[in-house]
Amino acid sequence: MKAIEDFTLIGKTVLRREDSYLMRGKAQFLDDLPEPKGLIHLAFVLSPYACADILSVDASAAKALPGVIDVLTGKDLVGDIKTFAPVIEIEGYRDVRRPVVAVDRVNFVGEYVAVILAESPYVAQDALDLVEVDYDPLPAVAGIEEAEAAGAPVIHSHLGDNHIFRAAFETEDFDARFAEGDLVLEEEFRNGKTAGGMIEPRGCMAWPDPVATNFTLWTPTQIPHIVRTAIADHLDIPESVLRVVAPAVGGGFGTKAHVFPDELIVVALARRYGRAVKWVQDRRESLLTNMHARGHILHIKVSVKQDGTLCGVYLNLKTNCGAYPNHPYSPTLEATGCARMLPGPYRFQTYRYDVSSLITNTCPTGAKRGTGQPSAFLAIEGMMDRIGRRLGIDPAEVRRRNTVRPEEFPYVNVVGVRYDTGSYLPSLERGLEMIGYDAFRAAQPKDRLVNGKYRGIGICNYTEVSGTGAPGWRVRGFAKMPGFDSSRVVVEPDGKITVYVSQADAGQGHYTTFAQIAADRLGVACEDVTVVEGDTSKTPYGTGTFASRGSVVGGGTVIRCSEKVGVKIRRIAGYMLDADPERLVLKDGRVADPEDAGRSLSLREVAETAYSMNNLGLPQGEEHGLEATDYYDPPMVTMANGTHVVQVAVDPEDGRVEIERYAVVHDCGRVINPRIVEGQVHGATVQGIGEALMEEIVYDADGQHLNANLLDYLMPTAMDVPELELDHIETPSIDTVGGIKGAAEGGLTGAVPAIANAVGDALSGLGVNITRVPLRPSSVFEQIRRACTEKEGRA
């Protein structure tokens, strides 16, 4: 077998094969697919109330509109679709199920109240206005504090209060060890609710075969296999009759890694009507009803020695679940994710956390790039700066003193997560050097005011959970999350290769990178490898593409599977060449015997033997065909790491934050395609800039969503993005196949705390305390104004 060190294509920038058809307008996104005959178009009537009883639904006028096929309410669908809920098995979690269309109560603005079936999307839209729903509005709660207040309306009465999840963790002798510090600092951090914001809205289309016994569902999902399992379960149909296909997917970012009520509905209606059924959401629906993320309150206490080292950390985290748990993760995803990821690159071994998730009358929250990590690092990295300010130690030095040292790897952190390898300190040093940290600090005046603007630097040192395997999901209660991914590698009769992977690409470039991997391992050209994924009928079962798992788990299984086929190729070639298979080498599309330089076979010749296309026959005991299947369950988690260092200028005139310099050091272990990794870092970092400076979904006290459009929900444009100075460090994992670590989320995780800390540093002279993102100009301006008034008051 080829040693991992002799990679030929892994690690090289190969330009993407996806680009050509995408740039010619030929890609087939959901709404670009040819429409089957007799297609029914759906539109949903959305609740305008955050909480209300549904007294009656009168659809007679809508039904009378020419082109309307039917209008169904929640009651009409009860027999077709079971109430919807994830399967979570963890102490402290309480089950909440929802009807996919509300039956007698709505619990957030945008919840489905009725579904219109029409011959065209225009008619379906017309009919929306004709459905008359009589509501009895009830008091709503939108925020965490309102939901847990005494006397708050209980949203799901069987729970008795609004808690859906609570968990706690404590290391031995926590109180005694925590008390060993010289001082205790505490702070409360918050972040706004945000959205994945992919430019392609969601939608889905189901098609029954002519006898309506088999169904195909096209849905832009990151998790086709999990979608299929969930639909079969909730519709009570065998998984074998359902095929789920992810067509081209216009960005996922975790939002598309959920199972949604509409996916269940289109399949159920295709079954009921024996016709194809399609639904595409608009941007307003997308922002009202797709999963939201964040919206956390983190109360953190740290106990510190005089030298800045941490003695212990206490975290109390509250998350806003929204009206219902998301499928398949439930709110435990962000809650346990955040609390378990908070230790990051630091060495403290005394930790306690209490987390809780509250039901509110808002859109459900779920996965989004970074999951709990941007929140976790906002808190712990925010504390690093506060420790520095309080003790008069440079914040970079505080981090150095607490960071896991190179000689301590492999290191097991305080919650039992193994860090096999990493470049925590080198990456910090490199980031500081890139930005010219020492010189900046030396020149920085105490009041931070330079040329009329407050200037500061912020650091975020982060770890990035990636490639979570089955044990990693089980500890967090995800009973039905497989954890593994799989592949099937086939050498076709003509010697070309097809790779089937259980993943689903949403722009990550899998069709290029997985081809690179297989080509590398089998010694063929990239062009000779075709990659197939995102189709449950073609690929073996697996978990999908989210939580930075594509390269670790997808890449890992393709490496393993290609090598398995390599063994069979050698066995058959050894028989054909009368040589020891062990010594044969796969290179340039041939199988060669290095001890007999003249002798080699093309892959095609070997394949012809395997497929019985010549008279050679097979060696004794060998089966026909030339393929292998592999299921790869990676370690619990694999930690990537990195450092962001940001220099900002804050304009006291308008509160605007300008990013003047931005350095990123990034270590995702073995790199498969440097260009693609760089793209992931850019994209994630800019989403982080969005979360730090502008993005927030706003609900008023009554649970009305105030900014469900792209003019008011602000996402970064080309004008909002600084030039990023990027450097990579490559510290391969020793636990994963190929040494690969994930790369997709760290950018976001690093950006939010680094920017918040930079603004905090810039305004530290004024005594402004930055504890909440996004830092929109209005809120920064207000904080500066208040600090100035207080100062004047004191003077």
Binding site: L15, D19, L65, G250
Partner: protein, 164 residues
Amino acid sequence: MSAKKVTVRMKVNGKEYVREVEPRYLLADFLRHELQLTGTHIGCEHGVCGACTVLINGKTGRSCLQFAAALDGAEITTVEGIAGDGPLHPVQEAFHDAHALQCGYCTPGFLMTTIEFLQSNPNPDRGQIRQALTNNMCRCTGYLNIVDAVEDAAKRMREGACGA
């Protein structure tokens, strides 16, 4: 509500089309569903994201904000019209080389914006490029590689023009 259909004549990517559509039918839907030119994408339908950008009589416009019926006689270029099945346009080549697209959903809009922009400003600086791109949103790339690509496309097109 559905009204009487009107006749619309349009030249799209050099080809003449005549269709009967409702007066409220959007240009984006006309291109995508009547002409099956699905390369023009819809991201917001309220004029912000720019995914639906096409050239209308040589100028960029948002096909989600225009009625097809109001464009009777217009000449439209969509992403399918840039290079067809032939060799890539220099702007497309530059996007490919710079890894300026990931999911590619926004890309048709960016290509149309870039092509128009470079016609009016063949030698832009990065600030001007960013300014020109603000009307298009991309959630995947973080824009930097797109700015690189536009810069590089300008260079390729200037060199191409000299060579010609």
